[in-house]
Amino acid sequence: MSDEVKQVLPLAKPMEGVSGKTGTWRVTKPVFHNDKCVKCRLCWLYCPESVIEIVDREDAFITINYDYCKGCGICSDVCPTKAIDLVPEGE
């Protein structure tokens, strides 16, 4: 039996995308419309994937990282002004 020590341990380190590009799971896609946005940040607050970023640019108050947005639609549902549309993915 070898005497060499090289522990194989059940450890992990923080990493983005450990379940892959979960954007591929999306069935419906949230589409942001800056014109309707009232900058309330609720979408940012409630996005379970933390893929909404507040950028507060002129052309967009928020951005959505579609690599990981799972398309749950919460952002759309919580948006008071319906500034986020849900459209079928791939259309």
Binding site: P10, L11, A12, K13, P14, M15, E16, G17, V18, S19, G20, K21, T22, W25, R26, V27, C40, R41, L42, W44, L45, Y46, P48, E49, S50, V51, I54, N65, D67, Y68, K70, G71, C72, G73, I74, S76, D77, V78, L86
Partner: protein, 296 residues
């Protein structure tokens, strides 16, 4: 209780994107807000449950919290040991047992109750999606009356165990309820809990689209309706003295509660309910308020 403003919330992520949670997952929300509340001061102790899966696959992890996964029945005891170790070695840490309703109220009940009685210096967060979701939607003691699960095909016949009340009866320094729909309230409660020495219990209501059978976009809506119908009461209690939290205060007044059917009808799990069941639930809501208000 002062209510936090959204703008004051930190932007750091502790639950990373690309995790294994289902779309619209309430536990993901609970974890996200936990990070906002306490950032890297936390050591999470996580028994089996959806939150052990959400971490994703090693050697990576979607959790930036230091996280110890543990057997299903063991979380509070492990947490108590960890907290003791940190105390003796003189390290700062907020040790949190983060368990589902099953890990809290069923297999973990003795451990929870034991840690509460010993007043171990930990926070227990019960992330309550009202069933064993990780194994595919089986009833737990926190599944509400009438709900379909894969072990109660015709609806659960027993009522939801009133765990917040039971924990109140344990006379621990801090007991609070929270909801993923009211993150600021929840975050404040976490921060308060972290500032108190001894055993702290936070019960987080976490509607699960998969197990409750609703469209994932409604996670927050359903959670909100639970509060607005008075089904779920936000409160906190220091040493047994209850205060109804601001977001629930309106619903002390029965008139102001939304009809409970608004809550039920969104969820397919309640589809087998009969009108008399709904009556029963309305009565349970009244009773729960009455009982709770005795402790204010």
């Amino acid at each position: 209780m002062m209510v936090l403003n959204i703008k004051e919330l930190p932007q750091e992520k502790y639950l990373l994107s690309g995790n294994a949670a289902c779309p619209g997952c309430p536990e993901a929300l609970g974890l996200k807000y936990l990070g906002m509340a306490l950032d890297d001061k936390v050591i999470l102790v996580v028994p089996a449950g959806c939150s052990s899966v959400i971490q994703g696959l090693a050697p990576g992890s979607s959790f930036r919290f230091t996280t110890l996964n543990v057997p299903f029945a063991s979380s509070d005891a492990v947490a108590a040991g960890l907290a003791a170790a940190k105390e003796v070695v003189g390290e700062d840490a907020v040790v949190i047992a983060w368990a589902g309703d099953g890990g809290t109220a069923d297999i973990g009940m003795a451990t929870l109750s034991g840690a509460a009685e010993r007043n171990d210096n930990i926070i227990h967060v019960c992330v309550d999606n009202e069933a064993y979701m990780n194994t595919g939607i089986q009833r737990s003691s926190l599944t509400p009356y009438g709900a379909w699960t894969t072990t109660t095909w015709t609806g659960k016949k027993e009522r939801k165990k009133e765990l917040p009340l039971i924990m109140l009866a344990h006379k621990v320094p801090y007991v609070a309820t929270a909801s993923i729909a009211y993150p600021t309230d929840y975050i404040e409660k976490l921060r308060k809990a972290a500032s108190i020495k001894g055993f702290k219990y936070i019960h987080l209501h976490a509607p699960c689209p998969v197990g409750w059978r609703f469209d994932p976009k409604y996670t927050v809506r359903v959670a909100k309706l639970a509060v607005e119908t008075g089904m779920w009461i936000l409160f906190e209690a220091f040493n047994g003295k209850v205060t109804i939290s601001p977001f629930s205060r309106p619903y002390q007044n029965k008139e102001r509660r939304k009809p409970v059917t608004e809550y039920l009808k969104l969820q397919e799990r309640f589809r087998t309910m009969k009108p008399e069941d709904v009556k029963l639930i309305e009565k349970m809501i009244d009773d729960a308020w009455k009982t709770l208000l005795k402790f204010t």
